[in-house]
């Protein structure tokens, strides 16, 4: 087997165990898309264009809730901002590649692919074809994600509403904050945002409660930052 194929299949094998939880997640995404009344093409198209579970669920929620494009784009961007860091880490290994390669690899660089290829790159710095590892891992994730989205779309009309799958939207956002639960100041900011949104849900017009709550919470964050800077 030549080196390219060997590295490619290594990537596929390495990422495979991480695909087990991705399947139900993809199904849930497809089901929620259908539950919120989006077309099958739109739900599937989002999986092709965005290719990022959590951010797609965020977009579904905001889009169906009638949020402004500014809030929608900012929120999806905030969810995906960690990929900037992935890109920065991998630039050490992949910056010599042609632009086309970089574009393809950035498209499939998701959490799971990053995790396994980062380990591989560290150990195999001198492999000329190491980028094939990311290609294999990334397209495995991509294929599994598309198939499970389709499954969700097909099952969407079958899955009963009583299952309350839309609760997974809230859970997805909770999960995206897990790294901030350890920081006391972040918890204060979260509580301000959540409480303002809950009270403002019925009182703030034009569904603007999200952005109003976010601005209020950021003001508190600014205050907290200024207080800490003064202390130091």
């Amino acid at each position: 087997m030549n080196d390219r194929l060997k590295t490619l299949s290594r990537g596929i094998i390495d990422v495979s165990p991480l695909m087990i939880p991705v399947v139900p997640f993809g199904i849930i995404y497809g089901v929620i898309g259908m539950e919120l009344g989006l077309s099958a093409y739109m739900t599937f198209g989002m999986s092709i264009i965005i290719f990022g579970g959590a951010s797609q669920i965020v977009l579904l929620q905001l889009f169906s809730g009638g949020a402004s494009s500014l809030v929608t784009i900012t929120s999806v961007g905030a969810v995906n901002s960690r990929h900037l860091l992935y890109g920065a880490v991998f630039s050490e290994y992949l910056s010599h590649l042609k632009l086309a390669w970089k574009i393809i690899l950035s498209y499939v660089l998701i959490d799971q692919a990053f995790a396994v290829s980062n380990t591989y790159f560290k150990k195999n710095k001198n492999n000329t074809f190491k980028h094939y590892h990311l290609l294999g891992a990334g397209f495995t994730c991509w294929t599994i994600w598309q198939i499970s989205t389709i499954l969700g779309i097909v099952l969407g009309s079958v899955v009963p509403e009583e299952l309350g799958l839309s609760f997974t939207i809230s859970l997805t956002f909770v999960a995206l904050l897990i790294n901030d639960f350890r920081k006391f100041k972040n918890i204060i900011v979260m509580l301000v945002s959540g409480i303002v949104a809950t009270i403002g849900y019925n009182t703030i017009p034009f569904q603007a409660y999200i952005i109003v709550a976010a601005i209020a919470a950021l003001l508190v964050a600014t205050l907290l930052t200024l207080i800490t800077l003064k202390k130091n």
Binding site: P21, V22, P24, F25, A54, V58, Q61, L62, T74, S75, A78, V79, L84, G87, A88, S91, D111, E162, L163, G164, L165, S166, F167, T168, I169, S170, L171, T172, F173, V174, A175, L176, L177, I178, D180, F181, R182, K185, N186, V189, M190, L191, S193, G194, I195, V196, A197, T198, N202, Y209, I210, A213, A214, A217, L218, A221, T222, T225, L226, L229
Partner: protein, 86 residues
Amino acid sequence: MIFLLKEDILNDKTKKILSYVPSAIFPAIIFPPIFLDSAGAIDIENNPKILASILAIIIGYFSRSIIATIFVGLISYWFLIFVYYQ
């Protein structure tokens, strides 16, 4: 983006404040569907979503796994609505 953004464009204070953006936006999306009922009134008693979210937060805190957090929350929610509250 990585190549366009130079380190010194944003000062430290701005960067610090921007790091709170997820904490400032996400709870505004999380809280209302959990704490408000379908009529828009605050519902705290016997609310399975609150309990399930707390469990998800505990698991997320210790595991730091996105997928584990989501599934523990969903499974405990199902347990509460289909078994415990029946």
